[in-house]
């Protein structure tokens, strides 16, 4: 399990700063929870007074300025960042923009005192490996936090191992432990279809699913669950768990990348770590991608990253060998940065027939 706290705001000053803290010092005795209203929509009367104050334009008129809300919450930055960092994925970006728009409108409606049901925010990301599901989940946590639909800016990423126990009575506490840690943020369950194993009827995964469902239903204000997995296996998972399917409002399918997009991703990846392709390497990379795509175990962007890692390895070996031979040992800045065509062409992808299965 990994807990990513992207940015932790400190809403209260820490005790001990400025003066000695009194022993047993507690929070001021107050009825108010210091977090954006988890108690559902305020009644129309108090909605006008409280929650709308910081949303309205200064003139105090009734109209909700959606644009101002959009800019104020910084959603534009997140969406722009998403656009920059993720190549392709047009349908995904569209869906996320839609969800963001829906949440902004929902917020504006709330501020106007209109009745809104708590929006169901649980999502399911389906797609082949390496299509950016985890990255998008992190951005999603960002968006939800900025709009105040989750209280903590954190994404807890878990797999079956973290939820399901090994013997009777082990699963429930384990799942609850994870849920408690994820409360107030986003729980990202990777390879969620592993939770349900139809071939073993005594599998404890079902117990975990039941606890999850209960929390997903009853504590919608406290937790957003994002499931991720391969499309076909998630479909089977939902067929056998109709309760889960009906509680997930947003199904987002991640398409595979095209060869052009993968090349763009490769360029982005190398430039981010201060490498670059020379002209020969660029065309070699294109060749590589086309061959690799037709081979087994192709994992989209992840395969590209692995290929680049190996190319860097070969580049290092090449520089080292030539330095040993030349006895001068100098490597210019340019040489250190450049990946040449032969670093890529040395890959086994080029020598193996197209049907080969090994990813090398």
């Amino acid at each position: 399990m990994s807990i990513t706290t992207i940015d932790r705001p400190s809403p209260l000053p820490r005790a001990g700063e400025g003066g000695a803290p009194a022993p047993g010092e507690g929070a001021p005795f107050t009825d108010r929870v210091p977090s954006p209203g988890p108690d559902g929509p305020p009644s129309p009367a108090c909605g006008r007074g409280q929650s709308s104050t910081n949303l309205e334009p200064a003139s105090g008129e009734n109209a909700q300025d959606l644009r101002a809300l959009y800019e104020q919450t910084g959603i534009a930055e997140v969406l722009a960042q998403l656009d920059d960092e993720l190549i392709g994925l047009a349908p995904v970006k569209e869906r996320i923009a839609e969800i963001a728009a829906y949440l902004i409108v929902d917020k504006a409606r709330r501020a106007q005192g209109l009745r809104t049901g708590a929006p169901s925010l649980h999502m399911c990301f389906t797609g082949n490996p390496g299509t950016g599901k985890t990255t998008v989940a992190q951005r999603m946590a960002d968006i939800l936090h900025r709009l105040g639909y989750i209280r903590n800016h954190q994404l807890v990423s878990v797999t079956r191992d973290d939820l399901v126990g090994q013997y009777i009575g082990h699963t429930a506490p384990k799942t609850r432990e994870v849920l408690k840690k994820a409360m107030g943020g986003v729980l990202f369950i990777d390879e969620a279809y592993y939770l349900y194993r139809p071939e073993n009827e005594r599998d404890y995964g079902q117990e975990s699913i039941e606890i999850l469902l209960q929390v997903m239903e009853n504590q919608r204000d406290d937790l957003v669950v994002i499931l991720a997995g391969y499309k076909s296996r998630m479909d089977v998972f939902f067929q056998s768990n109709p309760g889960m399917a009906s509680r997930i409002a947003h199904h987002i399918d991640f398409p595979d990348y095209s060869a052009d997009e993968l090349l763009e991703i490769a360029n982005l990846m190398v430039s981010r770590i201060d490498y670059r392709f020379d002209a020969d390497a660029a065309s070699a990379m294109r060749d590589y991608i086309e061959r690799r795509m037709r081979q087994a175990h192709f994992a989209n962007a992840r395969s590209i990253r692995n290929a680049l890692d190996r190319a860097r390895l070969r580049q290092a070996a090449r520089l080292f060998r030539s330095a040993m031979k030349a006895r001068s040992g100098d490597a210019g800045r340019e040489a250190l940065m450049t990946i040449e065509g032969r670093d890529i062409r040395a890959s086994r992808v080029f020598s193996n027939p197209v049907t080969a299965t090994a990813e090398r």
Partner: protein, 144 residues
């Protein structure tokens, strides 16, 4: 104790006030979590003032960010031990403190019989005093 109306147990924070509502408990827990303290849920049916160590309900909750998780645990404990005392403590692991920094009761039995004062005559007219919980006369588990 004699002057304490209804024999309400007064231990920890806020115990002279009316019982905290869930929203108030949530606010207190949120404060503890923001300080980086680990929150625990404990219960007992022997609330003698010298009984410092109550039974823990589950493990201490490290790494929590949000009070909703603690509320889940408090509710589970109240359901299991509806007629026990349940308290929430917040443990500060900072070097130099390493001690509970907050402790307050979140659940109490319907009937609180209270305590009596026992006087024991010792040698030379010396009096020894001790506090005795009426509830503790019954065996554990049937006290409230």
């Amino acid at each position: 104790m004699m002057t304490n109306y209804g024999n309400r147990l007064t231990q920890g924070q806020f115990s002279f006030l009316p019982d905290l509502s869930d929203a108030q408990i949530k606010a207190q827990v949120a404060y503890a979590l923001h300080q980086g303290w680990a929150v625990n849920v404990e219960y007992t049916d022997d609330p003698h003032p010298r009984n410092t160590y109550w039974e823990m309900f589950g493990l201490p909750m490290f790494d929590l960010k949000d009070p909703a998780g603690v509320m889940m645990e408090i509710d589970a404990c109240r359901k299991t031990f509806a007629n026990h005392y349940v308290r929430v403590t917040a443990f500060d692991a900072t070097r130099g403190w390493e001690t509970p920094r907050m402790s307050f009761i979140v659940n109490r039995p319907v009937e609180e019989p209270g305590f009596r004062l026992d006087r024991t005559e010792m040698a030379g007219r010396v009096q020894r005093y001790s506090v005795h919980s009426y509830a503790a006369d019954k065996p554990a588990g049937e006290r409230y």
